[in-house]
């Protein structure tokens, strides 16, 4: 019947027992790390904190899984040059990164600067060595040429 909010056909509902609600919810709270002692006899608000802590853990796990997916994706991309059919001889995969992604958590700015400096120095040393080798080989060539013309 329209306008009849309380239906006559409905039977009066049983009063809800809080004990039953608590007992039903108990296994869930055990599963997120609450002890029975904390759940039953501890401060009721503990349940809120455990729920929040579980939400943070879940979010962190989600990010970890995402990061793992990124590593796998990168590894496949790096190896992809040799995965193509009819690939040219001598094609090599891009090397897998020598260290994990910098998430900005492990290194302080000083450490980062130090690392950058050492990498720069390495590149400079390598370039200098190449230049020296080149100069030595050119000097040798010139010496050889000079010898031929003279002799």
């Amino acid at each position: 019947m329209d306008g009849n909010v309380l239906s006559e056909e409905q039977e009066p509902s049983e009063p809800i027992s809080l004990s039953e609600i608590f007992e039903d919810a108990c296994p869930y709270y055990m599963s997120i790390g609450m002890t029975p002692e904390q759940y039953w006899c501890g401060e009721p608000a503990l349940a809120v904190w455990y729920r929040e802590s579980f939400r943070i853990k879940k979010e962190r796990r989600n990010w970890e899984m995402w990061l793992q997916g990124m590593y796998i994706y990168d590894a496949i991309c790096d190896a992809s040059p040799i995965l193509r059919p009819f690939v040219k001889k001598g094609t090599r995969p891009i090397p897998y990164p020598s260290e994990p992604y910098d998430l900005g958590l492990t290194k302080s700015p000083e450490e980062k600067r130090e690392k950058q400096n050492s990498e720069d120095k390495k590149v400079m040393d390598e370039a200098r060595m190449r230049m020296e080798n080149l100069m030595v080989s050119m000097a040798n060539k010139l010496k050889g040429k000079g010898g031929n013309t003279n002799g």
Binding site: E43, P44, A45, R51
Partner: protein
Amino acid sequence: MDKALQFSYHDRDYTLEFTRDSVRTMERQGFNANELMVKPMTMLPDLFAGAFIAHHPYTKRKLIDEIFEHIGNKQELIGKLVEMYNEPLATLMEDKEGDEGNVGWTATF
């Protein structure tokens, strides 16, 4: 966040609080919160006595009734006790205030 009542009676400190265990104990002993509105004079002392279970389980009922008789500002006390009794259940409910689709409401009293 902890909802508790504290007072001293005859040089002894009391902290009244409800835990899930004390609510369960009260229900086992026959307490029914739905009867608070129907039989307030019977149920309110029982509710007050139930708040002793968590921290002072061995307090005699006679003493609890005596404290209840002497306690001031009963009107506010009753409101606080009901709020405290509701706390073990309320903390199990997810906070969905920010959810879209929830019906907003305001009180005029």
